[in-house]
Amino acid sequence: MAVWQNFGIAVAPNPDDKAVDIQLAVSAELVAANSDMNKMTPLLQIWCHVFGVLPELPNISKVRNAENTPTLSTLKDSAACFRGIERPHDDEDNGDSVICYVLNPATSIEFSPSQVCVAQPVIMPQQTAITVLVRIKPTLLRPGLTVDGILTRIEPVKCSPEDPLLPNRYKTRYRERLW
């Protein structure tokens, strides 16, 4: 696993009290699985949209200085937060422990096959948002790890024409909207 794939602790708003911060670890399995496949894009997106920094890659200045440089944000910039993903999830019938943060960056990031820098900006397609799934569940936490939850997914998702900033059919695919 490369050095740039060592994520620290991310800060996010408490789903139950937006004014209070919680701490999240990035799923070690998520990082390892992508690393094993040499897949970079999801990890690049976590740096930009969860940690609010560009990944430390050679010649990343090319991305920083690009006309449409990636929108750097953290989960504190979330436009919405939902609880419960309304489907079987591990040992939960309805995925009630899963929190979904929704971000609306103008520009994201992806792997680039360039010889100069392996990342490049991507202007977000219309009616697309970034969702970040977090499990607030003690059983996922490794012994000695003092965080409030684990970030398990980051996904650009299709939004609805009626509400282009929120995931498609958000009223039925999530149990409740927290904010």
């Binding site: 799923s27 399995e29 998520l30 699985a33 094993d36 496949m37 040499n38 897949k39 970079m40 894009t41 050679p58 309304e86 489907r87 079987p88 999830h89 591990d90 040992d91 994201s108 990031i109 992806e110 792997f111 096959p113 360039s114 010889q115 820098c117 392996v118 991507v122 397609p125 697309t128 799934l133 499990r135 996922l140 684990i150 398990t152 997914r153 996904e155 650009p156 998702v157 299709k158 995931p167 498609n168 059919r169 695919r173």
Partner: protein, 130 residues
Amino acid sequence: MANDTNSYKASAAFFHDSDCVEYVKVDAFVIYDRVDEFLTLIYDKTGIQLVGFKLKGFKNIFTKQLKPIYQLNEKQFLRLASAIEAICVTLGEQLFADDDRKRSYQAAATLAANDNVELRGFDLVERIAA
């Protein structure tokens, strides 16, 4: 920096933390389009070309439907086209009543079959039981 040794190797992976199996052909910005509680289709950034799929609640699907049939050991592989077919059987009439939903499952099954997408038995038996 990108070379053959470090290039993306498209393969299916089971993510225990999020209880899903995902297959994506490309290492690029993609768009996830939820079909239902079991299936999400994954498109390229134009939103037009299908480049992958995600099967959700996979622990439940595997434990209840696939494991009894396939009796997988760590040396065997599970064809994901078969997993998609198993979901379709479970959905039954619900699927046939919804053309869009049915087409989505067909598209995912075709992609899985054409790309010969498989999961290692070890990944399932050991990690789902964990």
